[in-house]
Symmetry: C2
Subunit: 197 residues, 2 copies
């Protein structure tokens, strides 16, 4: 499917990815992409079948990357706290490696058309279920406090969702080690050090 990339095709895919992230999928036209590449619109179809196929390709690839990562964590046998740390680490690793793909994953998935949209949402729900598994294990073991599962799962997911910002829109340099350390500290212990209420 995605093999046999000529250098020119790879360049097109890279530029397209960046531009779709910057302007949004709907706002990025084939003319925009062609103009950035310095050729005519029709040449795009030497590389891809359709605009829709381009989005699908990126979204499902990065989606599977996250699944591979979290599957590995679930099979690790680590205690829940270590699994959660590994989850933060996974997010930072994938985001630093493929920042624009992660950006698409956050912002552009809803531009998929049926039946791919349903397929994507199902797969995303499966991922969220895996995150729930880690958290519920931690609550049962007493390592985590007894949160509402829906709320805490979305809070944790949301806490790592914005990382792509650091590697795309952010101008300053990023220290991945420090980012992971700080974000882990926040997810595990919040802004304050102890209990409240």
């Amino acid at each position: 499917m995605t093999k046999n990339h000529s250098p020119r095709k790879k360049q097109f895919l890279d530029e397209s990815l960046k531009m779709i992230h910057e302007k949004g999928y709907k706002a990025t036209t084939m003319r925009d992409l062609a103009e950035r590449m310095g050729f005519e619109v029709s040449n795009i179809y030497n590389f891809i079948d359709s605009k829709e196929a381009l989005l699908e390709s990126y979204l499902f690839m990065i989606s599977e990357d996250f699944h591979d990562g979290i599957d590995h964590i679930l099979e690790s046998g680590y205690p829940p706290t270590e699994k959660l740390k590994a989850l933060v680490s996974l997010n930072i690793r994938l985001t630093s490696t493929k920042p624009y793909q992660v950006g698409l994953l956050v912002n552009e998935w809803r531009n998929l058309k049926e039946p791919k949209l349903t397929k994507f949402i199902d797969r995303r729900n499966e991922y969220e279920e895996k995150v729930r598994l880690i958290i519920s294990e931690g609550i049962e073991s007493g390592e985590f406090r007894p949160f509402d599962m829906d709320i805490i799962t979305h809070a944790v997911l949301s806490s790592v969702k914005w990382i792509y910002y650091w590697y795309t829109d952010h101008s300053e340099e990023v220290n991945p080690v420090e980012l992971e350390r700080q974000l882990t500290e926040f997810v595990l212990g919040g802004v304050g050090g102890g209990a409240q209420s």
Copy 2:
């Protein structure tokens, strides 16, 4: 500007807001809006000047709501922890009151055109600065741990950003009191109860 709403105009604005949230701004056409209202496209322009103006109106209104809220918190004289609790509370209150507007604020702001786009981003940066103020005060007083300001600010903002999901796409009922309690607990203390490294 937004006064003298006839019931029909108010209904149009409500339906538009909901539809733009569901389909996305770019994907929602004037024909879509007219169809939902049961009249022809041209009638839309009895209520609004342009599609762009519709988006602007909603975004800047809800943006100012957040500013009003956080300004009130900053003037409160509360200690940092209480200010942070109030910030969570503000997010839940505004989101439960105007869930679709908050959804637009998160997802559709970048569809603004210049010069409104720059104006919006400037205003958003001002809001983020106010959040930073609360957090830095907490770190200096020792109530919060010594995080990197950029990282922790975005982490906190991200932790409350997904709340709109509960009031728009979420099917189950929401208990605002419980949501606030749990989310506050997470932001202040994380998933675990104590410190780590």
